[in-house]
Every structure is written in C-alpha cells, then in structure tokens.
Amino acid sequence: MRLRVVMLCAVLALPSCATPGSSGVSADESSNTLVVSTPTEPDSLDPTFADTFAARLVFTSLCEKLYDVDNSLRLVPQLAAALPSTSKDGKTVTIRLRKGVRFNDGTPFDAAAVKTTLDRDRTAKESARASELEAVSRVEVVDPATVRLRLKHPSAPLAAQLADRAGLIASPTALKRLGENFTTAPVCVGPFRYRSRVSGNELSLVRSPYYYDRNKVRLSGITYKFIANSSVATANLQSGDVDAAEHLDPSDAVNLESERGFRVLRSKTIAYQSLSVNVRPDAGTALSRSADLRRALEMSINRRALNAAVWNGQEVPDCGPLPVQSPMRTEPSCTPFDPAGARALIKRSGVKPPIKVELMASTGAATQREAQAVQAMANDVGFDVSVRPLDLVSALVLARSGKFDAFLVGWSGRVDPDGDTNGLVTTGGPNNFAGLSDPKIDDLVAQAAATDDTKERARLYAQVDRRVSAHRALFYLYHNTWFLGTSRRLHGVDYRPDGIPRFSTAYLSR
C-alpha cells in the first residue's frame, strides 16, 4: 500500500493538467497488465517505415509477420500456413496463408491484404523495407489464402526477410483510413492491439478480441515503458513498478539474479560486436596502410579478458559474424591473443611506436568501458589509442564518410547470413564502415544469396569470412548475450535468439 501524499491540491495552482502518461485502465485490467521497460523508444509503428529494435520489440505483441524464427533460428509459419514453396528456377515463391484470421479492427486478413502491404513496402518513397524486398518484382493474389511473389532473381534471404519487418502485414482498411499517419493508430494481426502512446514515456497495448489464438493470451494488456538507464530500469523492477526490464546491463543482471523475487532470462543472440578499421585508400593512417599493423592490433585484443572485465563474462567471444545457432555457420579461425607476436609485427612494419589510433565508440557507459579496455590492451603492445566518445548517430555519420581510424560498433544481427554480410562487407555497403572493397567478397555474397542449398551457402559464407579476415579490417569480438530481468510473478515469456521477448502467452501470477 503506497503512501497517498495528502496535499492541498486545490490551493496549488499547478500548471500541469495535461494527461501524458495516463493509461486510463481499470484496476482489474491494471493488475493483469504487464509493464515492460525498454531502453529505447520505437520510431514509427508503421511496418513500412519502422526501423528500430524497439519497434521490432513492440511488433511482436502488436503486429504478426508471415513467418517467425524459433529458438534454433529456423523459420516457422506465423500468419502463413506453411513455409514458402519456391519454384525450381527460384524466381517464384508461393505463400499459403492462415484462414479465418482477422486484423485487430475486425477486418479479414487475406492475400489481398498481404499484397497491399508488400506493394506499399516495395514502392513507398521513404520505405525502410524497399531494400529488403528488392528481389520482388510482383505480388500476385492467387486466391484469398495464397500469395505468389515473382522475383527478379532467386533470393534465399527473402524468406528470412518475411520473418522480420518485411513480413509484417498491416490492415488495408486502417492503411486507407490513416495513410501516412498509420503509425498513430496501427492495426495489424496480433495478440494485443494499440491503445495509446505517450512519446518519451510509454506505449500501451490491450488484449485483442479478434486474435486467432486469443484463448492463449492471458494478459489484459502490455505497457512498454521507455527507461534509458539500466540501473534505473532495475530499480523500477525491484520496486514493482515494472514487471520485466529488457536489455539490462550484465552487471545489473548479475546483481538482480542474486535477489529473491526476481529472475533473469538470457538470450544468446545473433547480435555481435566488432571493431572496424578504416582501410579506405584515402584514410591516410598507418593502420590503413599496413595489414601487419592491423593484425597486430587484433592480436593485442584478448577477447576473453575483454568479456570478463567489461561484461562479467556474460558475452560469447567469437571471431565471425554468424551466431552459433546458424545452420550456415562454419567455425571461424580466430587470430589468437598474442602480445609478443603483435610487438614483433609492429617492429617488422617499420613504423615507429607508439602508433596513434583514434578509436571511435558510442557514448554508452558499457561501450566506453569496452573502448578503454581495448585501448589498454592495444597500448600495451605499442599503439597509442585515444578513445573518441560520440553519440551513435554522429559516430555512424563519421564512419560512413570514412572520417575515423577505428570504430567499435555493434550489429543487431539477422536470421539469414545475408543480413550479416551484404551491406556490411560488400563494396559500398551502407554499413561497410571499414570501407572494404573486394570484388571476390561481393561475388561470394551474391552467390550465397542466390542459392537455397544450405550446405553450399555455408561453404560460401566460410569463404567470405576467410577473405574478410585476410583484409584485417574488421575484427569480430563477441556475440551478445541480452538479459531480461523479470519479477518471479511473470511466467510464460519466450525469449528467443533474436533478442526479442515474446509475451503473447505470458501471465502474471498473484
């Protein structure tokens, strides 16, 4: 029972009579409404334009996709009735849909609705989905429960794209009514439907009466609360003001785990951390000119020590982009931690130490700790690393324009390996921060995307990995473990390797 602060409200001419943050839910609903804290706020809630991790998190409750991934990163049908069937030439994909499904405005979900969304995704001017559906040339309605995609070229990653944001289907009725303002009242198929949003504070969803699996949904609603700081989110969880805190820092997670009344769920995710070295011809740094120096830098980094010192040993040290769950992963060959070897390489390079390197890293506390750890390790073998903290947006701008020496940056990872390579190591890719330009890599990535044969793709991605490694421009450090702190009252959460907790079957015990 909280202390009700008795004050003479009437005599205080307080200016705030606005209602941000007011949820307006009844007591019964409130007691069965899950409150989840998340460190970032979604951008748009329009499937065509949404582009943040936080939006993906909310969509799992609000907006279902044609496909989803299971704990082994295998595709499973969600709004589709079965996995897609692809023609022999790889240029026609047929998708059968669930029948009897309704959007959260009561209108039917069918092939025409899928076509409406996919066409909008492909053609809307500012669409964030256009590049994901680049292979699709036409969407055809075969019958109300079947959609056929005609492709410009075979595309193995397409199915995985349909298990991500490109597979989110919006209600055509709501799209027609709201147009570009769909984000203000999004309507999809999902266990919960949109109730309200207070920018900068919280987003509320309420159980949908139209959801096809509504009997399994036990919560009356979900409120996502945006709490940027992990320690503050942990304190909110401990005080009972939130029931689950997503994406906790490892130190907070470890501390929370030792307390009664709480549990910490772990997700060994597909996200990874890497260090990009600028190797553009015009970079003009010692590192950009000498592969030996870059190798020395990598040899100076002790991945296990980094994990222990910064992340309480919770991450998964690794040397490649593909996660352990991926069926297309081949065990990467790691450059061993070897400070003596690094010193020898520096000596051989002829460059007189200390070798100045500016390491750019975003301003988050943990990332800064990590940058300082890398700095200490590199300085130990003859580098003179200075850490340049920048907000992520600014850092990305500098990285994309090649105005940096080295950049410590993460990637949220993709289910299909194409999403971890195409655009990240291919020539001119928007996230190819190192500035790698190797036609052979481009060719291998394109080949891997054009075949459905898993073994062949694994072989091709192994070759990509080896060539990237040979350039010594991109060092993969570890795959992230993410933490969901929860009250012990909360049950039935499904926390998958994509790092997104699913709450559709969750419930709160008394």
């Binding site: 009700r4 951008d43 001017k125 994901e132 504070n201 304190a235 947006v393 949220s412 655009g423």
Partner: protein, 317 residues
C-alpha cells in the same frame, strides 16, 4: 513609458529572430543527416532522397529557414519525425509537466532553504547551524542522478512508499500525480534549497547585525519579531538568487525527467537530439527561448514600473 515599452519589445523581437536563426543553424550543425538517420540501418539513396524532400531538407538553407518561420508564425512547428505528431501538440503536453516539476522544486527549495537558513542564522554556532551547513554542502555537491537513484532505492525499492517512475496528469489523478512528483521535486529542489539556505543564512546574519535590529532589541522587541523584521529585508537578495537559479532548475529537470521517466520538456529535447528529430528540437528550443525573452521583458517592465529611472535609455541594464 510607451517609448520604453516599444524599445524593449523591439529588442525582444530582434532577440527572438536571432535566436531562431541560431537554433535553426545549430540544429543543422549537429553531425548526422536526419534523412539518413530516418532511413534506418540499411538506407537506400532513393529512401534518403525521398525523406530529404518530405522534410524540405533538399531546399537551400535560407528557404528552409523562411519556410520554418512562415509556418511557425501560423502556429505550425512541423511534425515529429518519430511519430508524426504535431510538434505544437507534443509541446503543449510536455511543457506543463516540466512547469509543474519546476514549480514543485521551487516550492521545496524555498520552503526548505529558508527554514534551514533561518534556523542556521538564529542558532549560529550551535549544532543546528552545523547541521544546516552540512545540509547545504550536501545539497550543492550531490548530483541529481545519484540522489535520484538513491531515492528510488530507499523510497520505492525498500520502503515501497513512493512509485519509482512515471507520470499521471494532475487532472486525471491529483494524488497519483503528486505521489509521482514528490521524489523528483525533492531531488530537483534540493540543490536550490542548499543555495537558498546559504543565501538566507548570510543575508539574515547581516540584517540581524544591522543598526535597526540593535535598536529594536534595545527597545525590548522580542526575538521572534526581530528575526521577522530582519528576514523580510533579507528576502530581497534571496528572491534574486531564486530567480537566477531558475535556469539551473530547468537544466536539472532534464536529468531528473530521465531518471524518473517523466515525459517533460527536458526529456523531449534529449530524445529529440539523439534521434535527430529536427522539428521537435527546433520547436522546443524556440519555445524555451521565447519563454526566457518574455519573462525578461516582463521583469524589465516591472522594474520600469517600480523605478521610473529605469525607463531612460540603458537604465534597465
């Protein structure tokens, strides 16, 4: 007086115009093309170009500025790039929240600060004085962030007497609103209370040593009445300090709103900067600038009304 008013209003208008140019250019000087930011992790050139066109970022800067001013004069500050909501609507929701927080923090600062300052001055050299001075030092040196977290741990986690975060509108649930605002107001007001305490103490001590108080004492006026007279005269300086501390309160609110997840003006600006939400940053900063200019104008007018000498040129400096 009319000439003075016209002169001051003219200066205020010029200040707002210059400030609007500074805000407009300052926002664009931030590293990071908002079109690229909005286009997401895998931006295509077409998407970036379309976004640039949608927000008018492909026009020359002077045209962008004139568009912006033209719309602002019609009460249109644009739309948030994040959720497409009108910036004026967002500001009308957020500003009152921060005003309430600031108001409550001032209340805490004034009540606690003056009470502690009076106690400290009246009981100079006693344990009360030392305790009040200790409080002053504590209040001045403790960062809001740390204090906020400690407050949450004590009052929310261990004692469960106050919520750790969130906000409800005063009109919707007055007690719920105050329940959520108590801790943020205490955290934000503590620094001000420390400043006010120290100012009250030194000012009151000075007044208590003045001739008129000695005369009053010699005439047999009782101690509480002596302190009352001296306090009234001390409050002029204290009031000035409170006024000067307002700007610090607003910047402190940025931190406090982050810790307690209060959807206020400060959090809006911080979130706007990190997502390069140009319309929101421009609108929020412009409103803040206009607010400061208007308050200063009113203060100048009030001074001129109270003291006619201020009406002459340069008199109100």
């Amino acid at each position: 007086m009319i000439e003075f008013l016209l002169r001051r209003t003219g200066t205020a208008v010029v200040t707002v115009v210059l400030a609007s140019i500074a805000v407009f250019l300052g926002v664009r000087a931030l590293p990071g093309d908002p079109a690229v930011v909005l286009a997401g992790e895998d931006p295509t050139p077409e998407a970036v170009a379309a976004i640039r066109h949608q927000f008018g970022l492909d026009k020359p800067l002077p045209i962008q500025y004139l568009d912006y001013v033209g719309q602002a004069l019609h009460g249109n500050l644009g739309f948030s790039t994040q959720d497409k909501a009108p910036v004026t609507t967002i500001l009308s929701e957020r500003l009152p929240v921060t005003l309430e927080l600031t108001f409550l923090a001032i209340l805490v600062g004034v009540l606690v600060g003056i009470a502690a300052g009076v106690a400290s001055a009246v009981r100079r050299g006693t344990a009360v004085d030392y305790a009040a001075n200790g409080f002053g030092l504590f209040g001045l040196s403790i960062p809001h962030f740390w204090l906020g977290l400690v407050g949450i741990v004590i009052f929310s986690v261990h004692w469960h007497v106050l919520p750790s975060s969130g906000f409800v509108g005063l009109a919707d649930d007055p007690l719920g609103n105050l329940e959520r605002m108590v801790m943020p107001a205490l955290v934000l007001g503590l620094g001000m209370a420390a400043v006010v305490m120290r100012q009250t103490r030194s000012s009151l001590l000075s007044q208590l040593g003045a001739d008129y108080v000695r005369t009053a004492r010699a005439k047999g006026l009782r101690r509480p009445r002596q302190v009352g007279h001296a306090l009234r005269n001390s409050l002029t300086t204290v009031t000035t300090v409170i006024g000067l501390h307002l700007a610090a309160l607003i910047s402190g609110a940025v931190i406090v709103e982050q810790i307690f997840v209060i959807p206020g003006f400060g959090k809006l600006i911080v979130d706007g900067v990190s997502s390069r939400n140009y319309p929101v940053i421009q609108g929020a900063v412009l409103v803040a600038v206009v607010g400061y200019v208007v308050i200063n104008l009113l203060v100048d007018v009030a001074y001129a009304y109270l003291d006619p000498r201020q009406r002459t040129a340069g008199g109100a400096e």
